[in-house]
């Protein structure tokens, strides 16, 4: 249980009455959803000159979330924002590239920070092929579970 009742005026622990969560069964579908987000964001990033920060932010979302969904399917859940590095098949992305994607995510969600430069983005693009292979590996393993 991730939640614990602190106080209830009627003394009834409704959290305990909820019972255990249902098993997670959508792992394959969810991993494919985030793989699709990855390919669309990368395609848009290479084809368009505008909205780069949004696409970088979406890449971050796809990498973090596919790792979390994979971990849930493997019954070893990791909810950390660094889940992609913690799971048993860690991402080959360089930590510097991950930090750059995270910066874009914070810009897109909270409007805070300095946008990456075009040079930083060009360097990152070179780093994405191994990520696609890594995502394939995760999906294949989830399918086999």
């Amino acid at each position: 249980m991730e939640s614990k009742l602190i106080f209830a005026s009627d003394g009834i622990d409704f959290l305990r009455k909820l019972g255990s969560p249902m098993p997670y069964i959508d792992g394959e579908r969810d991993c494919e959803k985030f793989y699709q987000l990855f390919t669309e964001s990368r395609n848009s990033l290479t084809a368009n000159t505008n909205s780069k920060i949004f696409n970088l932010s979406s890449l971050f979302l796809s990498i973090r979330n596919i790792a979390t969904c994979y971990s849930l399917s493997s019954l070893a859940p990791v909810f950390s924002r660094n889940a992609a590095f913690i799971i048993d098949i860690p991402t080959p992305l360089r930590p510097d590239s991950y930090i750059l994607l995270e910066r874009a995510r914070i810009l897109a969600t909270r409007g805070i920070g300095e946008p990456p430069t075009d040079a930083e983005i060009s360097e990152l693009l070179l780093d994405l092929d191994p990520i696609e292979e890594w995502m394939h590996k995760l999906i294949l393993k989830v399918r086999a579970l």
Binding site: N50, S57, A108, T109, R110
Partner: protein, 99 residues
């Protein structure tokens, strides 16, 4: 395509329309904090039609994101029509906006 992917694609489409013009800093997303940053960095009048349309697009997408799967299908159909109309109006507002 799942509704999640469709929603992101719709957001990307709106951003590409807004960012087709060269701003001092582009619009990073349709989250309210990103919109307010964009208005400030580009000194865009917060009461302009352009600001209103961008905020409206953000509100529509985030409203949908908070719906349950059961509610989503009919709502999405209506919303995608509204978003297409909004995209046309935004295109004009971006072109016509004078700083």
């Amino acid at each position: 395509m799942t509704e999640f992917n469709t929603r992101i694609a719709a957001q990307r489409r709106i951003l590409e329309i807004v960012n087709a013009r060269e701003w001092h800093e582009e619009l990073f997303s349709l989250a309210s904090k990103a919109i307010e940053r964009w208005l400030g960095k580009n000194k865009i009048d917060g009461t302009s039609e352009l600001a209103a349309l961008v905020r409206e697009a953000g509100a529509k997408l985030f409203f949908l994101a908070n719906k349950s799967q059961e509610q989503i299908t009919e709502d999405y159909r209506l919303l995608s029509i509204e978003l297409s109309e909004l995209a046309c109006r935004l295109k004009n507002a971006v072109q016509e906006y004078c700083q």
